[in-house]
C-alpha cells in the first residue's frame, strides 16, 4: 500500500504527503471535506482538495492570526471570527481571560462537525461559554453590524469558492463599519510567492487600504501552504502593530506558545523587498 495525497501548489508545482488512512470524506452544500491521516503531518483537513490545516503545523497559523492583535491591544473584549471552522483560532483566543465574547461565523456547519470529531486538537475550545457559533454567510453577518467588535479575524479559505465573498471590497468595508473606533482587522492575506496567490494578496491589500488608516502585512512560515511563505493582514483604525505593541503586558500573561513571541511579533512585519514592492504597487 503506497498512498499519496498531492496538491497543486502552482500549475507546475506539486506537493505530496504520504497517507496512512483516509479517515473521512463528505460533501457539504459548499465544498468537499476530507480528513487524512498522514505519516509526517498527522491528521490533515482538506477542503475541495486543498490543505487547510495539519496537526503538525497548525500552531504556526493559529498563533500568528490571533496573538499579534491581542498583544497590540490587550483590552480587546469582543471578537468576531469569520471562517475558522476547525476551531484553532478560537482555541488561541480562549486563552485570554480578558476576552468576554467570541462570535464565530462559519458558512459550513459540516466543517465544524467533522473537525469536532476528527480534529479535537483544534476544535477542543469551541464549547467555551464565551463562544457563539453562527452558521451563515460571513458577508451577510457583518453587513448588519455597526460599531460592535474590537477585533475581527478573517480566517478564510481562498479568494475562490465559498470564501470568495470574504476577499471583496464590500466585505472589508462592512468590517470597517462593524469595528469600534479601536478596531483591528486581521485577515488571511494569501502569499506573495506563486503568481496566483500573489494576485490574491495584491487584490486584498488594495481593497483594505482604501478603508483603514493603518494597513500592514506580516509574514509567517507555513510548511504545508504553497511556497511556505504566507501572510496575514493587520488593518486598524488606531493601533500600529509594532509601535503600539505592549510586549511587557503580553509576556506577563505567561501564555504558552510554540511559534509566537513578542520578538517574532516585531520581526514578522519586516518584509522582503519583493513583497514590499508588490504591496506598494497597489497602495
Amino acid at each position: 500500500m503506497n498512498l499519496w495525497y498531492t496538491e497543486k501548489h502552482s500549475p507546475n508545482v506539486r506537493f505530496s504527503l504520504k497517507v496512512e488512512e483516509h479517515l473521512f470524506t463528505g460533501k457539504s452544500d459548499f465544498q468537499k471535506i476530507d480528513i487524512l491521516q498522514t505519516s509526517e503531518f498527522g491528521r490533515v483537513l482538506t477542503l475541495d482538495g486543498l490543505v487547510m490545516l495539519t496537526e503538525k503545523d497548525e500552531f504556526i497559523y493559529h498563533e500568528m492570526i490571533t496573538h499579534v492583535a491581542l498583544a497590540t491591544n490587550p483590552s480587546i473584549k469582543k471578537v468576531l471570527v469569520i471562517g475558522a471552522g476547525d476551531g484553532g483560532t478560537i482555541r488561541e483566543l480562549t486563552a485570554y481571560a480578558t476576552i468576554e465574547q467570541i462570535d464565530m461565523v462559519e458558512i459550513d456547519e459540516m466543517v465544524v462537525d467533522v473537525c469536532r470529531e476528527y480534529l479535537p486538537q483544534t476544535a477542543s475550545k469551541l464549547a467555551d461559554p464565551r463562544v457563539n457559533l453562527y452558521f451563515e454567510d460571513g458577508l451577510k453577518f457583518v453587513r448588519r453590524i455597526e460599531n460592535e467588535y474590537d477585533l475581527i479575524i478573517v480566517d478564510s479559505t481562498d479568494p475562490f469558492g465559498p470564501g470568495e465573498g470574504l476577499f471583496t471590497k464590500e466585505f472589508y468595508g462592512n468590517c470597517y463599519k462593524a469595528l469600534t473606533d479601536d478596531g483591528i482587522l486581521v485577515n488571511q492575506h494569501e502569499s506573495p510567492f506563486y503568481a496566483e496567490d500573489a494576485l490574491g494578496m495584491r487584490k486584498a491589500h488594495q481593497k483594505i487600504v482604501g478603508f483603514f488608516p493603518v494597513c500592514k502585512v506580516y509574514q509567517f512560515h507555513m510548511p504545508t501552504y504553497p511556497s511556505g511563505h504566507w501572510l496575514f493582514g493587520f488593518a486598524s483604525k488606531k493601533f500600529d502593530p509594532t509601535q503600539d505593541l505592549d510586549a511587557a503586558s503580553w509576556n506577563e500573561l505567561n501564555l504558552k506558545t510554540k511559534y509566537y513571541n513578542t520578538d517574532i511579533h516585531v520581526g514578522s512585519f519586516a518584509l522582503p523587498n519583493y513583497v514590499k514592492e508588490q504591496l506598494k504597487d497597489v497602495e
Binding site: K140, P162, F171, N174
Partner: protein, 491 residues
Amino acid sequence: MKGEYMTHHLQQRAPIMEALNQYKSMRVVPFDVPGHKRGRGNPELATFLGEQCLTMDVNSMKPLDNLCHPVSIIKEAEELAAQAFNAKHAFFMVNGTTSAVQAMIMTACKAGDKIIMPRNVHRSAINALILSGAVPVYVNPGVHSELGIPLGMSVKDVEQAILENTDAKAILINNPTYYGICSNLQALTDLAHRYNMLVLVDEAHGTHFYFGDNLPASAMSVGADMASVSMHKSGGSLTQSSFLLINNEVSEGYTRQIINLTQTTSGSYLLLSSLDISRRSLALNGKEIFRKVAEMAQYTRNEINKIGGYYAYSKELLNGDTIFDFDVTKLSVDTREVGLAGIEVYDILRDEYDIQIEFGDIGNILAYISVGDRHLDLERLVAALAEIKRRYSKDKSRIYIHEYISPQVAYTPQEAFYAPKQKLPISESAGYVSSEFVMCYPPGIPILAPGERITKEILDFIDYSKVKGCFLTGTEDSNIEHINVLKELME
C-alpha cells in the same frame, strides 16, 4: 395523465443536438463551409472557444436541415418548441429578438398600415416601422409618479386608440417591460380581437412566463397572435438566439417568408442547438428553475429593502390596470432616496465592487437574477449596495425624475428616416423634426424616434441623462452632439 406523460416524453428530445452528435460521430470529411473545418484551420480560435464548440459550428446540409426552409430536424425542433410554449408554431431565430419583433410587425403590417403600440417599445419595434413603412399610433404608457418608470398600457387608453383608429392592423404589447411591469394582456387581447386587430407581444423579458408558477400570463396563454421570446435572456440559450411564436390564423408560410427577407441563410448551429437544448431544459425543469429564481429575487429584494433608502419594488405596486401584474423574478431597485441616480449606482457597482448589473437609468437599477446565480453572489450585491449607501449617499433632491414626454409625431418613422435632412448641433434642434433615434442603452427605449418633433423638454432630458452618465446612442454622430433633422422644416 397519459397526454401529459407523452408531452413530457417528447420534450426529452433535442433533435438538433442529437443530429449534431450523430453527424460528429460519422466523422464526415468536410469539403464545405465553414472554412475553419471543425477548428483545424484556426487553432487559436479553437483553443479560445474550445474544440467541441468549433466541431459543432457546421453548415446547413441534408442531415442537419436548413433554417430557411426546415423539413427535418429543425422542423421537429420547432414543433417541440411550439408544443412547449403552447403555440401553433415556433420559429427558431438567430438574428436576435430584434429580428423576431421586426418579423411580427412586418407580418402584420404593410406600408401605410397602422399599428397601435406603447411609446416605451424597444428600438427594434420602431426600426421595423422604418423598414416596413407602417405607421405607429402611440399609446401613452404613463410614468409611475414616484418611481419614474414607464408603466403598462391602460385598457381604456388602448380602447380609445382603437376607436380612433379602427383601421389599425395590429397592436403591440410589452410583456413585461424591462422593469417587469405587465399590462392586462388578456383584456387587451380580447379588445383588439373584437376589432379584428392582430395582437403582437414583445416578450423579450418574458420567456419564463411560459414555465414558472405564479408568474404573469404569457402571450400564447391569453390567445395573442404572435410573440417574440428572448430565449437567451431568462431561457438560458446563447446570446442572439430567440423564438418567434405564432398562433390562431397567422400563416406559418407567410411569416417564414417575412423572416427570410432579413434573416441570415447561414443560421448558426451553435445558436440553434442552444435553443433546442434550452427549450428541453425549460420544458422539463422550468417550473423548478423559476421557482428558485423567484425565491432568490425575493430574498434579495427583502434584504435590499432592509438596508433602507433603496426600494426594491414588487407586487405592492399593482393597480389593476397600468401595473396589472409584476414579474417577481425581476430585481428592480429605486435608488433615489440614497441620493444617487440608478446609473451612478450601476457605475459604482462595476468600478468599485466588480459587480455588473443589467442597467441603471435615472431612478432605478435592474439586477438580472437567473438560475446561474449563487447565494454568495446575491450576498455580495446586497453588501455592496449597503456599502454604497454608507460611502456615497447624497442629498436626494439631486435626482430629478422626468415626467413621461408625450411624443409629437410629425412623420412616420420611415418618412422621417429617408427624408432629406440636415445636421444640426443638438442644442439648437428644438422645434425641428428628428430623422433619427436618441436613446439610452440599455434599456434601448427611444427618447426620440424618427419623425418626432424635438422639444426643449426632450433636450433637457437628454442633457440630464448625459450628465448622470447614461450611455446615449442612436444618432449618426456617435458623440450625440449633432442630430439629423428634416430639411423642409428648417426655415
